[in-house]
Symmetry: C2
Subunit: 144 residues, 2 copies
């Protein structure tokens, strides 16, 4: 569904969001441990999220990653997926044709469109904040 990088990105964001709700900055190491991901690789992903203004990063001692509490409910899964995997999820053809196009549809276009729209809607409506809050309550897990 998503690339590994994107999976890490979403999990990392949720963790950073949760910690930010508790007014804590987290280090790369913290993130990698919390989501059980290779830290150097995770670093690259956090860089991309930072450049897309989804997370903040601060250098130096007392540095680390964080998200603005005030903007947290504005961040949807959507933006993370887009920042890392681009728009293939939304615009790509399910059977790999160069373009998904209703005028020259692949055999599963109609069936796919329904599901893709559903997915899109879900990603657009799900805020990182709610996910972070559930995680904070111990209802969900970022590794296993």
């Amino acid at each position: 569904m998503f690339s590994k990088a994107c999976e890490y990105g979403i999990r990392a964001s949720i963790f950073i969001a949760e910690q930010s709700l508790l007014d804590r900055k987290v280090s790369l190491k913290d993130v990698a441990e919390a989501i059980e991901s290779p830290s150097a690789y995770t670093s690259k992903i956090l860089q991309r999220l930072s450049k897309s203004n989804i997370i903040n990063s601060d250098k130096g001692p007392t540095g680390g990653f964080s998200m603005d509490k005030s903007e947290l409910e504005k961040v949807k899964l959507n933006s993370i997926v887009y920042a890392i995997d681009g728009d293939t999820v939304y615009n790509g053809c399910g059977l790999g044709l160069k373009k998904c196009n209703a005028d020259k549809p692949c055999p599963v276009h109609n069936q796919f469109k329904v599901i893709r729209d559903e997915l899109k809607k879900m990603l657009e409506n799900t805020t990182v904040k709610t996910l972070a809050m559930d995680y904070e309550k111990g209802l969900t897990f970022l590794k296993r």
Copy 2:
């Protein structure tokens, strides 16, 4: 969503099905041209479909690939995806946790489950035959 191999596999199956409805066997070359795929790679995929008894393959002159007309409506997208990509689509966690498990769910488990079940249902209910018939009528396309 699916691997490239799986995309080719689905497209190839639809083409073979359509030709089989017209009582024609098709060669590897025919398939590769019809779905615009690298033929040697496509060959590997057809082998897997053949071993999963989704398509027939015959060697020698007058050989080629085909599907039994009588069994055509029994073949669902489902079996093709399973033959090539395995069960990751159905059982994998959307955020890449080792197992998808409602007892220890990832933060998007519930949202994902809805969509995955939808996808699953679609794959289980869509027969290659109907797709092949639409394709035959020129309503859909296997390349572009």
